[in-house]
């Protein structure tokens, strides 16, 4: 039985049965998204929507575990779908290119959770804004060099959202993170941290309203409570004062 060992973990005893009824929409199938999707499918998630408009390049292969040399030049989302179907022949994967304001509703249709595992701040702010607007629960995960950030927003719960705000409340609508390189093990560690948070959410744990900062070099994690910026342009319209 595929999930026998997972079911031995007390809080995940029924997880595969729960996951079989859920859909997760993931933005990005690269260094964070690829491994995360594989972990979620492995755990029993059978419905995924994945979005990535990039093609696979040689410079991706040091960290993006779903792809190989023969995939160079091919679509990331199509190759990711192929690998997930190889892992579990039952899995239903919808693929998307670039997610925009115009196609977000289609992208997120039926999703119980949206995960932003993309690689740039413009996409991150857009996905955050659209999740807040559509009141879709949302996990943000990002990495640069040996630093990772993970945050979870319960936009489906107006009270939680009014208290904890959104990614733009935390980062600022003018957020300008510096690009500082990336490597497979650090990206992989954050992929698994994001997958773990999603699994804990589906197992019934309240994981929302916090941000976790990972110092992967020194193996330290800091965690803080999120708070809404009452003037946030990206969520104040959705969650009011």
């Amino acid at each position: 039985m595929r999930y026998a060992r997972q079911r031995l973990i007390k809080e995940f005893e029924h997880l595969d049965e729960i996951l079989a009824q859920k859909r997760v929409a993931v933005v990005g199938t690269g260094g964070l998204g690829g491994l995360c999707c594989r972990m979620l499918t492995g755990a029993g998630l059978l419905h995924l929507t994945i979005a990535d408009d990039d093609v696979i390049e040689d410079s991706n292969l040091h960290r993006q575990v779903l792809f190989s040399e023969a995939d160079i030049g091919a679509s990331k989302s199509a190759c990711a779908k192929r690998e997930l179907e190889r892992l579990d022949s039952r899995v239903q994967v919808r693929t998307f290119g670039r997610v925009s304001e115009d196609n977000f509703a289609d992208f997120a249709q039926g999703a119980d959770l949206v995960m932003d595992l993309s690689d740039n701040v413009a996409t991150r702010l857009l996905i955050n804004r659209m999740c807040a607007r559509s009141r879709t629960d949302f996990i943000h995960c990002s990495v640069a060099a040996s630093e990772g950030m993970l945050a979870a927003f319960k936009f489906s719960d107006r009270k939680s959202a009014a208290r904890h705000g959104c990614y733009a409340c935390l980062a600022g609508a003018d957020a300008a993170p510096v690009f500082r390189g990336i490597t497979g093990p650090y990206a992989g560690a954050m992929s698994c941290a994001a997958a773990t948070l999603a699994l804990r959410y589906f197992a019934g744990e309240d994981v929302f309203g916090r941000v976790w900062l990972y110092d992967l070099k020194n193996q330290k994690i800091r965690s803080f409570a999120l708070h809404r910026d009452p003037q946030c342009p990206d969520c104040s319209g959705s969650f009011g004062n």
Partner: protein
């Protein structure tokens, strides 16, 4: 007054705001986020947020890669 900055003992003048403190460290606001005593302080509040004796201040880099 004494404060803790990213886990280490530090000093801040009386009436210092979080924005003053962060700016004095040479940290750029657009690339960072901050928390005081375990709670994230939204960036727009940094300029009015007064530090207090014994406060624990954490400033962290925003990262966006994947």
């Amino acid at each position: 007054m004494r404060v803790t900055f990213n886990g280490k003992e530090d000093e801040a003048a009386d009436n210092t705001t979080l924005l003053d403190f962060i700016t004095a460290k040479g940290i750029k606001a657009e690339g960072s986020a901050a928390a005081c005593d375990g709670d994230v302080v939204p960036k727009k509040e940094w300029g009015s947020f007064k530090l207090k004796e014994g406060m624990s201040i954490d400033v962290f880099n925003l990262v966006a890669g994947g």
